[in-house]
Assembly symmetry: C2
Homo-oligomer: 336 residues x 2
DNA sequence: TTGAAAGCGCTAACAA
DNA sequence: TTGTTAGCGCTTTCAA
């Protein structure tokens, strides 16, 4: 008999249908080796009792959770939200659940989040631009299939999915150089691993183009960082001809600040962002930037992960191609 | 003995520490009634084996999952991402996990997501602007504590948290009316429940202000809807003096389209958004809009939910105050 | 303060 | 095709 108040169990359904619990289990999992008669009877009983299988119990018994842990920096940044959206879209198609956590760029906090994912025995881990060190990442990956995006990792048990950073940065610098820019300033993304790569590429490309090391201002991928960087530039009074911001958010903050200060873009200063989040396309910003296929990144990260879950052991490192999106914030270098 | 490959269980720790499994359980849950000697011994053993409790097993045995199911429309919309961010911040503070799903505005899809949350026996449900009908919502709420945001629900087992819609809309309309606007067009949010309320308030306020029913164009809360609405207005050639868009995204799309068509804002047409997402503050848009405290909404939704989980049974319906944020997209009505 | 034992609701051999 | 029987790893009485 079913006790009202307590949700019905498989046992209740079995009793109601007059069959064994195991048979109900088979039916619930859509096994083909159940007679139509019984299947119908079980389904009816389940319907009658409004039975729903308990995913926890199922997971415990089968040691599969159909759940993926996703670690993001923060949800407010549309860049990460878009990646999460891409993951979510495919996950829901395939019946996977998403356990979501944010690291807020603190390695310790990330460790906590990953640990709790591990506690939940998620089937896999997608770590988006994690700040954790390689040792921690490798440790996690040894117990659970793991894909890292936005950063390259050496550990053989970790798949990585990243943008071809040199390609994107080179596109920016050579585009700027082609328009006569020689004094190019880069506002960095700070201490994040992705930022480091971008910075390094910037330096290398500048040198290769014979433009010297380039000027730098430290940032942290936020709009606020852009505001501060722009203020610093204005205060210093020594304007570069072009600015390459670590991302669109930062570029937006800079543009805002420059415009408030009376500068015209691109007449007085050229500006390039990175990411191509949707605000970049707004006419009011019309920001020249580098497109990163974010939803595709999310989707492919999950694809790689599922391959791992299915048993692949060779490491995969996928590189996605960024594209320069030319809009209206870059002009010819002003003459000095 | 611990089998390498399999993660250690409580049993392994008990053996390693020379105590019973139940005692290990007590220690892991921080029970005070364990002698310091044993506690230390257990903790050491756990450390040695790198033991981590299995959350699934714990949930199954205790029938608490420490997990909250969060249903959003979609992650790409920063409005929802911000709410999710607010929820996540508090959840992580309190040791709760977030199971995340998106409904993409399809009731059937929402039902699927909610069902899978129920399958996981999450401790609570936060449904952000759900499209599901009240019967489905009430059904879910009967088995799991539920908070709905962005929409008012009658069911007594559901707490709701919403913006004081009439207040926000009234602020917009009376502000516009005060500047001499009489032909005000509203671009709606379509079939969403939130949109319906906003629309209804718009109509009521317009009538109350003696401005007639107001003109309407149907939208769906997207930027694209704004583009299309603006194009429709331009094609028709009959410009209202002011447009009140259902949200900032839509307003951004409209502004973009108007500007591309050579209109000046607010000289030729005034524009008001809703939400105050961060793009509204950018100088290049500087959109007059209505601020909705999104992160606070997320946070409070979780607070209400936790009260329910702790046993509160009286219904709570909280109303948050929106604020008109005056920027630069509204001017005096142009003379005809 | 500690331990023994009975579940939590399900899956997964294996037998029938 | 169906049922039986062990678990999955933990919590929770209840005794000791």
């Amino acid at each position: 008999m079913t006790t009202p108040g307590r949700p019905p169990t498989m046992e209740d359904v079995a009793a109601e249908a007059g069959v064994s619990r195991a048979l109900v289990s088979l039916v619930m999992r859509g096994s083909p080796k159940v007679s139509e008669l019984r299947r119908a009877r079980v389904l009816e009983a389940a319907e009658r009792l409004r039975y729903r299988p308990n995913a926890m119990a199922r997971s415990l018994a089968s040691s599969r959770t159909m759940t993926i842990g996703v670690l993001l920096n923060d949800l407010h940044n549309p860049f990460f939200a878009d990646i999460a959206g891409g993951i979510e879209a495919l996950a829901s198609e395939l019946g996977y659940q998403l356990l979501l956590g944010t690291g807020r760029r603190h390695p310790e906090r990330e460790r906590t989040v990953v640990t709790s994912f591990v506690d939940y025995r998620v089937d896999g881990l997608i770590l988006v631009s994690p700040r954790l060190d390689e040792a921690d990442l490798a440790a996690a990956a040894r117990s659970i299939p793991t894909v890292v995006t936005g950063r390259e990792i050496d550990a053989p048990e970790i798949d990585t999915l990243a943008i071809d950073e040199p390609l994107g940065v080179r596109a920016v610098v050579s585009y700027l150089a082609g328009l006569g820019h020689t004094e190019i300033l880069h506002v960095t993304g700070g201490d994040g691993a992705g930022a480091a790569t971008r910075l390094q590429c910037f330096r290398a490309t500048m040198e290769a183009a014979g433009l010297g090391p380039g000027r730098l201002i430290e940032g942290d991928f936020t709009e606020e960082a852009g505001v501060q960087a722009a203020q610093a530039i204005l205060t210093r009074g020594d304007l570069p001809t072009a600015v390459f911001a670590a991302n669109d958010l930062t570029a937006a903050g800079m543009m805002d600040t420059f415009v408030r200060a009376g500068l015209r873009i691109p007449a007085d200063i050229s500006l390039v962002g990175y990411d191509n989040i949707y605000i970049a396309a707004l006419r009011q910003l019309s920001l020249t930037t580098v497109d990163q296929p974010r939803a595709a990144m999310g989707r492919q990260a999950l694809e790689l992960l599922l391959e791992r879950i299915d048993g692949r052991t060779e490491r995969v490192r996928r590189l996605l191609e960024p594209r320069l999106i030319v809009r209206d914030t870059v002009g010819r270098a002003r003459s000095r």
